[in-house]
Amino acid sequence: MRELIDLDRAQRRRLPDWSEIVDRLRSSTRDTAVAVLRRGGGRPALQPRCGVGGHPEMLALLRALDRAGAPDLLSVTIDSHTRLRHFATADRARRENPGQLNGYPLVAHGWERGRALVDAVGVPLQVRHGSPDGRDLFAVSLAAGITSFEGGGIGYNIPYAKDVPLAESLRAWQQVDAVTAALAGHGVVLERELFGSLTAVLVPPSLSLAMTLLEALLAAEQGVRCVSVSYPQSGEVHQDVAALRAIRSVAARYLPADMTVFTVLHEFMGVFPADRGWAEALVHYGGLVGRIGAADKVITKTRQEAHGIPTAAANAEGLRLARAACSPLLDFIRLNEDRVTEEQAWIETEVAALVEPVLNRAPTLAAGICAAFADGTLDIPFSASVHAHAAVVPLRDPTGAVRYHSPGALPLPRAALDRQRGLLNQRTGRITEKILADINYFAAREPWAAEPEEATA
């Protein structure tokens, strides 16, 4: 196993032998994340985000959420210093002032403490982060006995780092995937969740699906046969349900037939309303969309989203709200299926247009992805990275669905672009004001107003 992944020398010295890591994962009697997802249960598995800097505080947080929120999985959200491999800064911060870290510095705390986190709760843990190069974090996670690891070479680079060349992040994540495949050969199937939320702000569904599909294909090249594909709730229910269904249809078309794909909905990731009731309605709405879209998992949000990192109590309430939304009591809700079908067909068309040219580029898929980002035929809005053009400009149409205002150099078909323009052409005003209004789509609405002004304009 160790020959599959290049680790930082100092970190490698601190790890147990790979044989011990693998034996422990194999012999564990705990549920793996994938076992929870396979079991299903008639509703999406529910998982909150959570991570604080101090170890005792993290243990307490996980226990409190496990007890009060009855999650199906729990998260270990990693701090920003660790994400960027600033391990020394993370280590100093966790010693001096752990309460001011925005997540759990797992590498600095070390795998022994990671095992304590695993042992503290009855449900599997997932490491959620945002590392362009998550190899050391991955190794420490495995040593801790954690069976789910989020990220990929596109989605954890372009929205999360300023200047990490794509070739580097793709190579790092290919090694993570190679280890994932090797572990499956030993009977340990990890959940490898691909981060389709990107910058989490006005992400057109076809763009999200194109990026995660490319990452899934890269994983498949390394032998991975089980992935979770996540998608960020846009806020327009027909579009969101169509996108969740399209994850399955594009997977069936492009991925190996023996590949298992779980679908994950990230409850609305954008600017949340400050009003408690309105925020709770939005959390509930996310659970409902996940249920209607038959997501295998929903990552929940909280009523405190607008105010920073939530308390354990608010986080547990978020789980309860999402669970209530998944209740069979609400089974009477029916969407306009024609509208969902139409949206889904367009998403599939757009994904094909974005992905197929990359598949045909020589010499390798990874090289094709790098070349496509370099010429802007792959791109994301509001990129953090200088390695994407960020020429794509999204806007909401009058129903709230996210559309391409400008596609940049994305090779979208004429018919798709004409449709998008048609849906947006009722809007007037300066582009920055429109973008701001769309970002604040939920936050800016008067809590109990009937309709946003946009819809009647």
Binding site: S80, L84, T89, N102, A161, H307, I309, S383, T432, I439
Partner: protein, 143 residues
């Protein structure tokens, strides 16, 4: 609105603190400043303080604007006193965003940022133009 031609007479350096990858607000603030007649040079996300200082020196900038919303502002700006002492960062420093990880920590973090030598601590981008106008007018008068 009065004459804002002076806004373009000096450059500004804009960017996001070293550990923070939140790009959306940064890109919108850049656009907003350009539309209002300022001349920002945008260093983007995950920018160490020393890079702000170097860019400010290269461009003879009137101000450095550091955004951060991930709660790590105090940690990311802890090098400011050293840069000031070495004379590497002479212009006013404006901070905007969320100073700590939760609302309860904001007052202490704001005070800490001022102790480190941040001249203006702002909560909202809308506050920027007036603050920048005052910095630019002072800089142009004393130049």
């Amino acid at each position: 609105m009065g004459d804002t031609a002076f806004r373009s007479r000096r450059r500004l350096v804009l960017g996001v603190a070293a550990s923070d990858a939140h790009a959306v607000a940064n890109r919108l603030i850049h656009l907003m400043l350009v539309q209002q007649g300022f001349r920002p040079h945008n260093l983007g996300v995950c920018t160490p303080l020393a890079e702000f200082a170097d860019a400010a020196a290269d461009l003879d900038a009137a101000a450095v604007i550091v955004g951060s919303v991930n709660g790590h502002a105090v940690e990311d700006l802890r090098g400011l006193p050293d840069l000031r002492r070495m004379g590497r960062l002479r212009c006013p420093v404006v901070f905007g965003g969320r100073p700590s990880i939760d609302a309860a920590g904001h007052p202490a973090a704001r005070a800490r940022l001022r102790d480190l030598g941040v001249d203006h601590v702002l909560d909202r981008p809308e506050e920027l133009p007036a603050v920048l106008d005052s910095i630019l007018s002072a800089a142009l008068t004393h130049a």
